[in-house]
């Protein structure tokens, strides 16, 4: 075994470290140096060292603030958006558009039956304005990219975190949750959205519909946002679904909708899409029909752990959310790493 000194011996030896005598000439050198102009840096005041936990906390706060600040800088909504005419002669604020120009806040972009335009949505995406459309660049918050579509057609591709891009129509507010979609508004102000990637939230008052990729939803003026449904849904099923949305439907309407949806033998993606339709119906059908909706939804996609029949029938929000997340997770929910999920949720919390 290696021999070592005892701690007491180490201390004893260290206390015998030889003291060297400073040369007498040092005093003269110091006096001379004091007479010459100061070249030394100012001395730091004697202070307590900063605790490590405080330094670490400051670093964490700095990183979080820097990240959020950087995101705000990147995603800040510009006051003017670039417009590129892609067909015909669109009009901005009454002036014909023949070359790329800017659309300022409060200005209208109008297309006729033969014209279209491509609108740059800040740094986060593009919106293709179809024929016979009337679009207003709206005022919003620091990061709110906001349009009003009075009528016509918008084809939107957004590549950014959720809740940065909004489209107001006469019937609904469509909030981008990180996605691509086509939004059509008819002359009566009714809206129809077809989501092709990600999610869109439709909100009117307190009523909300969440439309995932692959589904369509409709909203009429003065009505709550409709339940999302597959695009190939037959007309009679759409009519039954609308009656259920308006709390006017009965068991026959529910059976029409269930029959038109994909069954338990369909591909899992299609089953989950149909599951989203049924999930929306849970709070919208009369209580006596809720059991039937639950059973069919459970056949299409079994409830995840922690979700019970009783909880769903009682419309407990956490269980409903857990099942919806299992059917089709959103941007912040699909992150697998905990810190990525935390950062995304922090972003959504900040932006909200």
């Amino acid at each position: 075994m290696t021999q070592r000194l005892d701690p007491s011996d180490v201390e004893r030896l260290l206390r015998r470290l030889p003291v060297a005598r400073a040369p007498e000439s040092l005093w003269e050198r110091i006096q001379l140096a004091l007479q010459s102009p100061a070249r030394t840096r100012p001395l730091p005041p004697l202070r307590r060292p900063v605790p490590r936990w405080l330094t670490a906390a400051a670093v964490v706060v700095g990183v979080v603030a820097g990240t959020l600040g950087g995101l705000f800088r990147v995603y800040r909504a510009p006051s003017t958006w670039t417009v590129l005419p892609t067909a015909g002669t669109p009009i901005i604020a009454g002036a014909a558009l023949t070359k790329p120009d800017k659309l300022a806040r409060g200005e209208w972009l109008v297309t006729d039956a033969f014209s279209r335009a491509e609108l740059s949505v800040g740094r986060i995406g593009t919106a293709d304005v179809g024929p016979n459309s009337r679009v207003l660049l709206d005022r919003g918050g620091l990061t709110q990219h906001r349009l009003t579509l009075m009528h016509g057609r918008l084809q939107v591709i957004i590549s950014a975190p959720p809740r940065l891009f909004f489209v107001r129509t006469p019937s609904v507010l469509a909030t981008d949750l990180g996605c691509a979609y086509t939004l059509v508004v008819d002359s009566a102000g009714a809206s129809r959205i077809h989501v092709t990637a990600g999610w869109v939230e439709l909100r009117e008052g307190d009523a909300i519909s969440l439309v995932p990729a692959g589904l369509v939803a409709e909203v009429a003026v003065g009505e709550p946002p409709g339940t999302p449904y597959p695009p190939e849904f037959p007309d009679h099923a759409r009519a039954a679904l609308r009656r259920l949305d308006l709390r006017l439907g009965g068991a026959a309407d529910l059976e029409l909708v269930i029959t038109a949806l994909h069954g338990p033998t369909a591909f899992i993606t299609l089953r989950r899409q149909s599951g989203i339709t049924l999930w929306h119906l849970l709070p919208r059908v009369p209580p006596e029909l809720r059991e039937r909706v639950y059973q069919r939804l459970a056949q299409l996609s079994a409830p995840p752990a922690g979700v019970t029949r009783e909880g769903i029938l009682a419309l407990r929000r956490p269980m409903l959310e857990r099942w919806r997340r299992d059917l089709s997770p959103m941007w912040s929910e699909e992150a697998r790493l905990w810190w990525t999920r935390a950062v995304r949720q922090l972003w959504e919390w900040t932006i909200n």
């Binding site: 290696t2 021999q3 070592r4 000194l5 005892d6 701690p7 011996d9 180490v10 201390e11 030896l13 260290l14 206390r15 015998r16 470290l17 030889p18 003291v19 060297a20 005598r21 400073a22 040369p23 040092l26 005093w27 050198r29 110091i30 006096q31 140096a33 004091l34 100061a38 030394t40 100012p42 001395l43 005041p45 004697l46 307590r48 060292p49 605790p51 490590r52």
Partner: protein
């Protein structure tokens, strides 16, 4: 050269006040009180380089006298002074590293202990201390040249007392290994006998 005396009491308030005013007699008193300790710390820290140790000592006292007016009476003068010593030594080390581009200084430019005494226990201790990393070396020198407390060393080095304790503990462990040959012979024989018996 002699061994280290125990810590002396602080200078009287009149001397410190005179130093703050720039009184040469008070400055001389401060210089006389600390000159050998400051010089010794610098000399050991800089591995026996007398010229560099003199420069550092001069720099320390010039800084102290120039900034004496800023000195707060509620702090110990020695604590403040040793903070300046530590900074000056580390600055000198950094300056040399920039010159050498890599590594620490070359070992023992001039031995701290005169050549005739080389091989003596004190010389071995000085060499072992000079081989410690700069952070551990400075903690040891402040601890054993003026018997500073952990709190005072922490103030001088700008770290927490816990860090000081950790550095001293590591330094002791290294020195206990490097100076194993200085074990008292009586204890060695006793332990040897014990081993044989067992």
């Amino acid at each position: 050269m002699g061994t280290i005396p125990v810590a002396e009491s602080e200078l009287d308030a009149e001397t410190i006040e005179g130093c703050r005013r720039g009184d040469p007699r008070a400055q001389r008193a401060v210089f006389e009180r600390y000159r050998d300790r400051v010089f010794s710390i610098a000399l050991h820290f800089l591995k026996g380089d007398h010229a560099a140790a003199q420069d550092v000592t001069q720099e320390v006292f010039v800084k102290v006298f120039r900034a004496a007016a800023q000195f707060r009476q509620d702090a110990r003068l020695s604590t403040w002074l040793y903070r300046i010593v530590a900074n000056a030594c580390l600055d000198e080390l950094r300056r040399r590293r920039r010159v050498l581009l890599f590594g620490d200084m070359s070992p023992a430019i001039h031995p701290v202990v005169p050549a005739g005494e080389s091989g003596e226990p004190d010389a071995d201790v000085a060499r072992a201390v000079s081989r410690l990393s700069p952070r551990l070396r400075m903690a040891v020198l402040l601890r054993y040249f003026d018997d500073l407390s952990y709190d005072e060393i922490a103030h001088a080095l700008g770290v927490t007392p816990g860090t000081v304790a950790s550095r001293l503990s590591r330094a002791h462990a290294i020195l206990a290994r490097d100076l194993a040959h200085l074990r008292p012979t009586g204890r060695n024989s006793q332990e040897g006998g014990h081993d044989a018996a067992s």
